[in-house]
Symmetry: C3
Subunit: 247 residues, 3 copies
């Protein structure tokens, strides 16, 4: 196995879409690219990650492989990739090998493989009929507002607009985004939908999205939220369980 | 009640002259403007705050009102005001309502009202005869120097100069400002005065003054210190009890 | 005693080569300049510091003196020297006096003298035959890489190159610097040498070296490491005990 990416720092950006949710992960190196599915330890959220082989400058695979890695450790190692370094991924003596090659020198890191279960997590089978595609930064700002008064946030997709409501002991917040505002790129509403989600998980989910990029939020009433975005050619899809209000 | 300020961030700057000293406060919305008097929980320092109605772009008041608010929470909400947002203050369903309006969207925060006593704090009746008006930054630097060796600072106004002396187990510091140095704007000395004050409170008092602005320090021997400065048109006056040396 | 340096901030930079290793030190003000030898509290590393009198703009000494000072406190006081300030060192009433003089005002700090033993630490008598002179920044980056996987680092000087190996439970790192790479200024190898050192001490030793400067590393197999570099005309020499592997 010998997989090379020209820009080591972009690999770090891609892995960071995983590390905010899970500490350990089973990376599947398939003929199409690198895949990972994992649930966070509390089983409230899930990530389905895919980095197609086209993103790599070289993608040599003798056979498909599943490799368990400490994602947090991997992220820290990848953070040591300098601008201008390429990164090569491989296996050596039962270890995951990352080689940074820059103009001046090579640096080799080897990480132990770890046992992380089957990786058979299945994505929820839900037909999503409502979604909004919007600036990731604008959504992150909403979460910062929300955090001031509560630990949960209610998302509402209605005809022509996206609303959020946050109510807590310490106050409440209301915001809305009109379809034609600059921050909303697409808004598709079938029958409308609303559901409430834990703020901290939402923050972790969108944290790795880049400034100036978009995220897509799929919402069905009282069903898991689905959030999608791309980072350097890798596609990350997240699911987050709603809080069922006892009304 | 409907009070609007064009620049939401300036309201945050004004409220920050309060928040470093007190956590809760009774804001009085009067026909002249917004007033607040409060002592810090340890009763060592006091703030008298006034923001005249002229600072607001609209100041509509059906009747004068006293509103108890968690100042710390208010400051955090105001910190969410973006550059270019206006801020509208009002009351709705027994809550204090802050509405930020920007080019793209409105955001509404509501904070619970709290019970914070009468607000009948009275300012010390002292005839101050000595004062110095100086760069706030220069005074802040003095406090940083002082902090290295003690928790108290002695301020001395003499003919033609302002001196500080700090003595502690870990060393001592002496500094002086001549009347004609660039950092001193005005210096008025009647008979001279000296007193010692707790450093931490002084730091909290001057913290919200802006770089490039001036503060006025009124000093009488072994009497409370009076410090005044303006932030975005709001006037903050502080009193701080001296430490009476047992000589 | 009246010793003056034109640029107060450079004195801070020089003292910072000491403060990362020792908290207290006996400064010897001799006719040649200022000297200090000290071991860190764990006796694993040692610093020999010398700042020649030529670095000072005025160096008046009535007699040679040894002055025990809390180096940490001294560093914090020197950090209060502003750009453009000169610093004058002296003794007054049994205290170490630092006077910062700027365009606008004088500031006087006095620190208590402390008792810190004889200062008779002797430098190891080792004939060093292998050394590398390299960019300090490049070496600091190596230490950051190493820190990800272990608390120790193995340094290896071989014919024509400098190698590092780090092995820990959490992974391993290998790097090498060729003689002709831009980062290596000089490389002198007699028979070759290798030894293992505690990472944290190495970090503390090189921390105060300036970006863009060089450090010289002397290495003998399983003997103390010797590291040298200059900061603002002061010369700092460090020794660090190796970890003897039980093979």
């Amino acid at each position: 196995m010998k997989i090379v990416i020209d820009d080591a720092t972009s690999l770090k950006d891609a892995v960071d879409t995983i590390v905010n949710l899970v500490e350990e992960g089973l990376f599947e190196f398939t003929n199409e690219g690198v895949r990972l599915k994992a649930m966070d330890p509390s089983q409230i959220s899930m990530i389905s990650f895919f980095m197609p082989k086209e993103v790599f400058s070289s993608y040599g695979l003798d056979e498909e492989r599943k490799i368990g890695i400490d994602v947090d450790k991997l992220s820290k190692v990848l953070a040591r990739g300098m601008k201008g370094d390429s990164a090569e991924l491989g296996l050596e003596e039962g270890r995951f090998k990352i080689t940074f090659s820059g103009a001046k020198k090579k640096r080799v890191f080897k990480l132990p493989l770890i046992d992380v279960g089957s990786g058979l997590e299945r994505e929820p089978k839900i037909e999503y009929k409502n979604y909004i595609k919007m600036d990731s930064e604008a959504f992150k700002e909403v979460l910062k507002d929300a955090k001031l008064v509560s630990s949960h946030i209610r998302l509402i997709l209605e005809d022509g607009r996206f609303r959020v409501e946050i109510k807590g002991d310490e106050g409440e917040v209301k915001e809305e985004f009109e379809k034609d505002s600059g921050e909303v790129k697409e808004l598709h509403v079938h029958e409308g939908a609303r559901a409430t989600f834990p703020l901290q998980y939402l923050e972790d989910i969108v944290k790795a999205s880049k400034g100036g990029s978009q995220i897509t939020i799929h919402l069905e009433t009282d069903r898991p939220l689905k959030v999608e975005y791309d980072v350097v050619g890798a596609k990350s899809v997240y699911y987050l369980a709603p809080r069922i209000e006892s009304t």
